[in-house]
């Protein structure tokens, strides 16, 4: 899918992610991200592939500024993320849902409390402390937990669940935020093949239902080809491929990953 600049259309701006010339240097003079640019407008599933260490996780974390980009522009749902700070930054983050490789759940809390954590950005602290969440939030949390197939585990402790189940909770938490963009950082890397497929299907489903773009870091190329509408290939800090899964050829993969032995 090629770039479509719909900046005049308010609706499209909301479900959009515009990245321009993002550079990140951990050590001065050795940039990890060397000027990444791409736009994602409207509902679609974008898979970012590339070898380990090429900056995929860094890129995702620059988008919600968990890591500070050294240079570049990042506009999410019309907000320029690089110019925000403090309360506004938090509000902007609230509209970006993130799913993590290691699930990042609070182990000792129950499933529903973890899902409700997604709403912490818009819940006053005293409500969070006394667990007096608004009823609509509780209803929505229940619905999401049912949706991900964990209806019987609502009050179970997070650390009593399997890996696949925990990732579902993570996804429910991200969707709970009613995000404008969903990002997933290698959501299937810690899971077995069957569960990985289930998780990818779940992510796609939510992306469709919420009608938001979905950005996934993934290193399993086959999963990427199977589930994504658009693939962005990164290598050595640059974008070297941006197109549909059908356009992805072996030559592209060699360029991205190097070497040929691993290609089936």
């Amino acid at each position: 899918m090629t770039n479509q600049n719909n900046n005049g259309n308010g609706e499209a701006t909301l479900r959009s992610l515009l990245i321009k010339d993002v550079v990140k240097e951990y050590v001065a003079g050795k940039p990890v991200l060397k000027g990444i640019s791409f736009d994602v407008i409207g509902r679609s599933t974008v898979a970012i592939i590339g070898p380990s260490g090429t900056g995929k996780s860094t890129l995702l974390r620059c988008i919600n500024r968990l890591i500070e980009p050294t240079a570049g522009e990042i506009v999410v749902a019309g907000h320029d993320m690089t110019k925000l700070s403090g309360k506004e930054l938090r509000k902007a983050r609230h509209y970006i849902g993130m799913v993590f490789q290691e699930f990042n759940l609070v182990e000792r809390l129950s499933v529903i409390e973890n899902v409700l954590c997604g709403k912490l950005g818009s819940t006053p602290v005293w409500r969070a402390w006394l667990r007096k969440y608004p009823q609509e939030d509780i209803n929505r949390a229940f619905e999401l937990i049912e949706k991900v197939g964990l209806g019987d585990f609502v009050t179970a402790r997070a650390d009593s669940l399997s890996g696949g189940q925990r990732q579902r909770v993570g996804i429910a938490r991200a969707v709970m935020q009613n995000p404008h963009v969903i990002m997933a950082d290698e959501p299937t890397s810690s899971l077995d093949p069957k569960t990985s497929v289930e998780i990818m299907e779940l992510l796609n489903e939510f992306s469709a239902v919420q009608d938001v773009p979905l950005l996934i870091n993934i290193h399993d190329v086959n999963l990427a080809k199977r589930f994504a509408d658009r693939i962005i290939g990164m290598s050595e800090g640059h974008v070297v491929f941006d197109g549909t899964p059908d356009e992805l050829q072996t030559s592209h993969l060699t360029e991205i990953y190097g070497g040929e032995d691993w290609l089936a």
Binding site: L89, V106, R108, A128
Partner: protein, 264 residues
């Protein structure tokens, strides 16, 4: 022909380090033995004195219990417990300030660590002396002294527990846009809660021991009775008091062990 392999358990640098320490320790010991002032007559006298002491301490004056000891024992336990509770409330914020993953301003870190070190460096007896000067003799001085001494202990262990927290869930909450009080409540607290209660119980146990002697400088509890009996050379009462102290310390330890097994 067999090759000659050389294997050394420690590198030369490590050996040097250990040697310096051993040498330092021996030198310190020798110097101390030579300069310390021991009066030989007292030393030769010692066995006789010890026998004399034990003769006077037996039989134990059990009659004294009701009038002099019982209420003082209760007071001791109250001082220990209230002092620990006081310390909890004071140690928590200081511990938060000292943890370098929660408070990122180095000056505040240093300040908090300084408070913790000072609290630990000053003995509870010395704290008791200070607070007797401020609040006058009695249990108030004792309670505050126990509290202040315990801040350092609880705060340091709490800060260490906080620094060892899993950063994953914290990242997830930050990404969801949660304000920092909510992050502490839902991200850090569930992780450190068991350690926190363990530390508290541990300190309470030590505080029972400490509370039993601060009365020697006037800060309330059974130490006051001990001081009186010592001044009057009523050694049989002294032995009663010592036995009672022994009893409550053992009782406290058993209590703590039982609670530990059940809750943690």
């Amino acid at each position: 022909m067999t090759k000659q392999y050389e294997w050394e358990r420690f590198t030369p640098a490590q050996r040097m380090g250990r040697f310096i320490i051993y040498l330092g320790a021996v030198m310190a010991l020798v110097l101390s033995l030579r300069t310390v002032e021991v009066i030989p007559e007292f030393l030769y006298d010692a066995p006789e004195q010890i026998v004399d002491l034990f003769t006077r301490m037996w039989p134990v004056d059990t009659a004294y219990y009701a009038e002099g000891v019982h209420s003082a024992l209760i007071e001791t336990l109250n001082i220990a417990s209230l002092g620990t509770v006081l310390a909890l409330f004071m140690a928590f914020p200081v511990g938060l300030m000292a943890a370098n993953n929660i408070t990122k301003i180095p000056v505040l870190n240093w300040f908090a660590k300084f408070i913790l070190v000072s609290s630990r460096s000053v003995n509870s007896l010395v704290w008791a002396i200070l607070f007797v000067a401020i609040f006058g003799p009695g249990a108030l001085a004792g309670t505050v002294a126990i509290g202040f001494r315990s801040i350092g202990f609880c705060g340091k262990l709490l800060a260490e527990a906080l620094e060892e927290c899993d950063p994953g869930p914290i990242e997830a909450l930050k990404a969801a846009g949660a304000p920092w009080p909510s992050i502490i409540l839902k991200g850090y607290w569930p992780q450190v809660a068991p350690a926190f209660w363990g530390i508290t119980l541990f300190r309470w146990d030590i505080n029972v021991r400490e509370s039993s002697v601060i009365g020697l400088v006037g800060a309330g509890g059974i130490g006051v009775a001990l001081d009186t009996s010592l001044n009057l050379f009523n050694w049989d009462q002294v032995s009663l008091i010592l036995l009672c102290i022994f009893a409550i310390v053992i009782a406290a330890e058993i209590f703590v062990t039982k609670v530990r097994e059940k809750i943690i």
